[in-house]
Amino acid sequence: MIVGEQKPLKEILALLAPYKEVLVLGCGACVTVCLSGGEKEARELALLLRLKGFAAEATSVERQCEREFIMPLEKTISAFSAVLSLACGVGVQTLSEVFPKIPVFPGLNTSFMGAPLGVGVFEERCIGCGECVVHRFGNICPVARCAKNLLNGPCGGSKNGQCEVRPNRDCAWQLIYERMQALGRLEELFAIQPPKNWAPSRFGAQRKIIREDVRP
């Protein structure tokens, strides 16, 4: 899922300052699960904005990233002078594409693709590199989870299983090592991994997939 967190309130208020009638639009997908941009959060934020003097309302759609779910909002949206989207960055953009005339602002910082680990804890798992190699590492992805995306083993800073870069962050390579050891596949880690092909990643160019087989 995509994990995001609400922008600092000050920033949101600054973005909305020139407007009065504001629609806070939640999204029913990932950001609902990560408790940052669902219907509940949209309603709370709208109320807070009303306390601040905005004529704010809240609503939510199933998925803001898809035009089909946004199009029915046409009538609702016309009553507002701005929309604060609590979807991920994809939703914000789709919304603006569908309603190009109304100012749309992001209410979230879209953080990463990850998994919920427990109540209120989310952790990055994948950066969508475009050429998945996770199986070579016991299905613990060093591209996304090692701070230096090392493919050939841990750097010299891993200590007590923690990454040198940030406290309370597991060293991906410690996890990989333990997993591969438990699986009896340690020797697979001794092979030198060649430089990664980053062309299919976001460092290549904007990614686009066209599935001719399913197109009319």
Binding site: P8, L9, K10, L13, K40, R43, E44, L47, L48, R50, L51, K52
Partner: protein, 115 residues
Amino acid sequence: MALGIIGCERSGFPALCALGRENPNIWDRIAGVIPVPCLGGVKEETIFEALLWCDTLLLVGCPPSSCRNTWGSTLAEKRVARISQLLEEAAVPKKVFCVFAHLNRLGELKARVLG
């Protein structure tokens, strides 16, 4: 300054009534009272909605140690802390407090209500 009260039916609400019997004039300050089964079930949304018609909102309930639902008052405290922070960040001049009271413990409530 309009005062709003969300009171737990087990302790907060009876405590408020007791205080009212002692000081009937408190009712002049109170813009509204919402009785609830437990503070733990009071959602952020309810708190924000109440703040639309009052300036100071008190969530009055059992002391955490005697909350029937164990975590009710503790959860309420957390929510109140979060909302207070949001109000402060947004510079909205309204206040929310958690107040713990029952019939034999009116002190804190009295202080908040009578200012």
